[in-house]
């Protein structure tokens, strides 16, 4: 591999090894090798970054502005921390409509207000026509870890319960649908939402909340693999317990795509101590963005990520490799 492929950014196993080999090994430090959504620094400060390159920029249910705020708010939240401050850095293609920037900035501000965070520092670059695709946004974020919190991808133990906070694949399919010209009626909306309020409530359960992860690129499947790998456990989930919208399911069968591979931008996967599973579920269901939360499985010691099908059979969950493409066979 001498050239970067789309698959290296697709959120699957190719991306994981690319990142490990190229970045983690070289930058090699105790914080980065946490392999978490956000780094936990001295003084309980939590720090994360993400660049947003979504296409189209305006998609059903959201836009790159809302996405760029939620992405970072959520990555901080996935450490159990409370996000406080965001940076915003724009790379804009020459000729990009100023009105679109205003719409995006409005959306960022609205979302930041909703999440209760502030955008406190920024940067703007303009690149030549055809040197970027409209606009790219980077946000970085700072948050603070509450007392008693101990959330880490390495915390999973056999017996722990796996919960997902709502329907799977809405964002990924909304965006792919927009790109492939698929109409949904009623429209299928991206779930893009800030999850920090939900997490704040969850953190009342303190260290019973063991792992939080937002299943963005690579979807729920990739998150499960990362948990199994980093916690050195297995995971078993149940097909009939997975909350998935019927239209997302239909679109997936049409395009030959596994909904467990679809990105989510307003969902989290949570691993909790089994004694607190129903309490956690209740907290999620009480939240605006957690109505469809469901217990989907449990940690085991198999070392594998398996699914019990609706037929009662068991199989391995397919791990995403790279780029999601519509298929005909």
């Amino acid at each position: 591999m001498d050239k970067v492929l789309m698959s290296h950014g697709g959120g699957g196993s190719m991306m994981q090894s690319f990142i490990s080999e190229i970045f983690i090994e070289k930058f090699n430090n105790e914080y980065l090798s946490q392999m978490e959504d956000a780094a936990l620094l001295p003084g309980k400060t939590v720090f994360t970054t993400d660049s947003f390159v979504v296409k189209p920029l305006f998609f059903p249910g959201g836009d790159i502005g809302r996405l760029s705020v939620c992405g970072t708010v959520n990555d901080i939240s996935m450490r159990g921390a409370k996000p406080l401050f965001l940076s915003a850095s724009f790379i804009i293609e020459e000729g990009f409509p100023v009105d679109d920037i205003k719409r995006i900035v409005n959306s960022m501000e609205d979302t930041a207000n909703e999440a209760g965070v502030q955008i406190v520092t920024g940067d703007t670059k303009v690149v030549e026509k055809n040197s970027a695709d409209g606009i790219f946004i980077n946000t970085a974020g700072i948050g603070i870890l509450p007392d008693g919190a101990s959330v880490s991808i390495k915390n999973g133990k056999p017996g722990d319960v796996v919960i997902v906070s709502g329907t799977i694949g809405d964002h990924g399919m909304a965006v792919m649908g927009a790109r492939e010209g698929i109409d949904f009626d009623p429209p299928l909306l991206s779930d893009v939402s800030p999850l920090n309020k939900m997490v704040e409530k969850l953190m009342a359960l303190r260290d019973a909340v063991k792992i939080l992860r937002d299943p963005t690129r690579g979807g729920v499947a990739e998150v499960l693999y990362e948990i199994a790998g980093m916690s050195n456990v297995g995971i078993k989930i149940y097909e009939d317990k997975l909350p998935v919208k019927e239209n997302v399911k239909s679109a997936c069968s049409m395009l030959g795509i596994d909904y467990l591979h679809l990105a989510n931008e307003g969902k989290l996967v949570c691993v909790v101590d089994k004694d607190f599973a129903y309490k956690a579920l209740e907290i999620m269901k009480d939240d605006k963005y957690g109505k469809d939360a469901a217990i989907i499985g449990e940690i085991d010691d198999s070392g594998l990520v398996t699914i019990e099908t609706i037929y009662g059979t068991n199989r391995i969950v397919d791990r995403p490799i790279g780029e999601l493409l519509p298929r005909i066979c």
């Binding site: 099908t309 037929y311 790279g322 066979c329």
Partner: protein, 350 residues
């Protein structure tokens, strides 16, 4: 849901002779479904499901893949189903060509590719026609439409293959299959009578099956039931008629004519492919761009896709399976395509 499975198992047990039985699922989507639903777990030990040559990506010969890749190097826009993107040629793949800046575009439907060509008259768009009878009519449709609308910058590199002759080659080549799970969507076009030769000449029966777990299990039961007295039956009656889709068949006949084709694993099989008729020759990319297949090579070194496709070995038996060859670094197409047998076995842990 689980009840119907158990009930199916009861029926299977009822008709199970206990003798070792090999049933081949011809169609890649069946391979996929069987793995995804974990249906092998339901079957008794003596009944083995063998995967056949029904993954269109997998059976495409290595020299054809290389020809597609070299076409990408000529300033041509390659329009393709997503399935082909990661398939390794000898030195490259379409995804690597795209990364080098070659124009490779993924379409869900050949109709979209034609539309794209129409909207971009300065580009020369070649659609890579892979697939069996299910896909062939939709490609034929684009050729007819391009002809009618006089669209000059669209053509098709026809790598299509057809099913009956391949099945016959398989049987002749001495596979010990005792029953076929016949492809549902191919048969929606072809109808089921094309399989009659299996019974008439070779005394092997088959059932045209749907793709739900229930469909497949019932089809297996039907095969078992008729083991003594082989027949061609349709389980997937809601979609497949005995006579198939006559309009679609007419369309295929109009645009294409039979030709020989080289299958990965099976080699050259007379009359198992299609070529574009002379009337439409300006839409035949092979003629338009004087495509020379780069070599006679059919397989990549070490890869046993061919044997897998013929049901001679199961994916596990390939020494590279899961070691040098994984979905991330596939060596053969059977590991790339979602419905390739090796991929299905690897992904779903079988």
């Amino acid at each position: 849901m689980q009840d119907i499975i158990k009930s199916a198992r009861k029926l299977i047990d009822k008709y199970n002779s206990g003798e070792p039985i090999k049933i081949m699922e011809v169609c890649g989507s069946h391979t996929m479904a069987i793995s995804r639903y974990g249906l092998r777990q339901i079957l008794p030990e003596n009944i083995k499901l063998i995967s056949g040559p029904g993954c269109p990506v997998c059976v495409t010969a290595q020299n054809e893949i290389d020809a597609v890749i070299s076409l990408a190097g000529q300033g041509i826009t390659i329009a393709t189903f997503g399935d082909l993107i990661r398939v390794p040629g000898n030195n490259s793949s379409l995804q690597e060509e795209r990364a080098k800046g070659k124009d490779v575009k993924v379409f869900y439907s050949p109709l979209d590719a034609l539309e794209y060509a129409e909207a971009n008259p300065s580009k020369e768009v070649v659609f890579i026609g892979i697939g069996f009878e299910t896909t062939i009519p939709s490609v034929a449709l684009t050729i007819k439409e391009a002809y009618t609308k006089k669209i000059k910058n669209y053509s098709v590199y026809c790598l299509h293959k057809t099913m009956p002759k391949a099945l016959e080659a398989l049987v002749i080549n001495g596979s010990d299959i005792q029953g076929f799970l016949l492809p549902g969507h191919v048969s929606a076009i072809t109808g089921s009578t094309i399989y009659n030769f299996l019974v008439d000449k070779y005394k092997i029966g088959g059932v045209v099956s749907g793709f739900e777990a229930q469909d497949i299990l019932i089809s297996i039961i039907m095969i078992l039931k008729n083991m003594e007295n082989p027949k061609i039956e349709i389980q997937y009656k809601r979609v497949v008629r005995e006579e198939g889709n006559t309009d679609a068949k007419k369309l295929i006949e109009e645009v294409f004519e039979d030709s020989d084709a080289t299958w990965r694993g099976l080699g050259m099989i007379e009359g198992s492919g299609l070529k574009i008729r002379d009337l439409y020759s300006e839409y035949d990319a092979e003629k338009k761009f004087h495509i020379q297949k780069p070599s006679e090579q059919i397989e990549i070194n070490g890869c046993r896709c061919g044997d897998v496709l013929m049901g001679i070995i199961s994916p596990h038996q390939c020494p590279l399976f899961g070691k040098a060859c994984t979905p991330v670094n596939p060596i053969g197409p059977c590991m790339v395509s979602s419905e390739g047998s090796c991929a299905a076995y690897y992904k779903y842990g079988e």
